[in-house]
């Protein structure tokens, strides 16, 4: 059949695309490629706060899904393999904690006090502000655990009656807000203590803040990791209590 030897027709391309767009492998690959591109751009620019790799990768992927009319559930069929790694990655934070055990032991009091202050303010201010704005209850409950790492926040939100998929987005946005603003904010305040800078961003913006801290300074990164891990523990205890206090 001579027509099959010619250039691919529009029909062939459409058929190929309809196969590719339903294939989990496509979206898994797209996620990794988007991240690699975002990370390369961020590095090339010298890791400026606004060129956050998570933000850039999401901004690359969302138009692709939109144009190809791919529903999020189909995208997630492929991307879930990466999402799944959040669990083992949380466990892996044991290593920086262990490696820094001597420094941590030397500043146990500041760590515990700053952790409690940051964690309580993160949860209470989110609920109080959301109430002031008269947001719907399920949105408020999804906002409450926003400063803790994604897998923990999803579990906490679900337990108190929030919407896990909305929580995931609010957690990511919180991470990006912290990661983008921490460097200018700390420089403005003239804070030069890398431990305090790292710890603050780790408490307020979990893994994305921690990834930013590692970009800037290794000591800040280690302290951000400590803050993030400890806050994961504390937030899961504070949110159910806070929800009760606010009568939600």
């Amino acid at each position: 059949m001579p027509e099959e030897t010619g250039a691919p027709t529009f029909g062939d391309v459409a058929e190929l695309w309809s196969y590719l767009s339903t294939e989990p492998l496509t979206w898994l690959t797209a996620t990794i490629l988007a991240y690699l591109a975002a990370d390369a751009v961020s590095r090339r620019l010298g890791n400026p706060p606004l060129a956050n790799p998570v933000l850039l990768a999401v901004l690359l992927l969302v138009p692709v899904l939109w144009l190809s009319e791919t529903p999020y559930a189909r995208y997630f069929d492929g991307a879930q393999f990466i999402h799944f790694l959040l669990g083992p990655a949380t466990v892996a934070l044991a290593l920086p904690l262990w490696d820094n055990r001597e420094t941590i032991a030397a500043s146990v009091a500041p760590i515990i006090l700053a952790l409690v202050a940051g964690s309580v303010v993160a949860v209470a201010s989110a609920i109080a502000l959301a109430l002031a704005f008269d947001l719907p209850p399920e949105v408020i409950l999804s906002l409450a655990p926003k400063s803790t790492t994604a897998p923990v926040a999803l579990g906490v939100a679900e337990a108190v009656g929030g919407l896990p998929s909305l929580t995931a987005v609010l957690v990511i946005l919180t991470g990006i807000i912290g990661a983008v603003t921490v460097t200018p904010l700390m420089n403005l305040l003239g804070v030069k203590d890398w431990r305090a800078r790292g710890f603050a961003v780790g408490v307020a913006s979990h893994g994305i803040g921690t990834a930013r801290a590692f970009q800037v300074n290794p000591v800040a990164g280690a302290y951000a990791g400590i803050a993030m891990a400890a806050n994961a523990l504390l937030t899961s205890l504070i949110v159910p209590l806070a929800v009760g206090w606010f009568g939600l």
């Binding site: 996620t31 999401v58 790694l85 940051g118 201010s125 609010l170 590692f214 891990a229 205890l237």
Partner: protein, 117 residues
């Protein structure tokens, strides 16, 4: 690498099982983290073998948040309805938490140093 992955997943699974069995409010991976720290305290020699793989995972932590971030596409309705309020709440609350942790940390260190003198 496989050994590390097996250990990480094993700790997570044990954490998950413990949390469910005891009906704890703490998520499984967090208990898994505590468990791994306890294992490292019992056998410090474990750390050396783990570091290569955990280093790769933690260096690319940002990648793991991308699938959840793309979820923005499924929540555009809620997000656009309350966009201004949500942005204000997220920014103010995140900065408040950051500043609370920062100033508490600095104050506690200053007090500790004064106490030691």
């Amino acid at each position: 690498m496989l050994l590390t992955l097996g250990l990480l997943l094993g700790c997570e699974l044990l954490g998950e099982v413990t949390a469910r069995a005891l009906a704890l409010p703490v998520p499984g991976p967090v208990l898994g983290l505590v468990l791994l720290v306890a294992l490292l305290a019992l056998r410090p020699s474990l750390a050396k073998g783990l570091r290569a793989t955990t280093g790769v995972i933690l260096a690319n932590l940002s990648l793991l948040f991308v699938p959840a971030g793309v979820g923005v596409i499924g929540n555009l309705e809620v997000l656009s309805r309350d966009a201004v309020a949500l942005i204000v709440v997220l920014c103010v609350s995140t900065w408040a938490a950051m500043l609370a942790a920062l100033f508490t940390f600095l104050a506690a260190r200053r007090l500790g140093r004064r106490g030691a003198e």
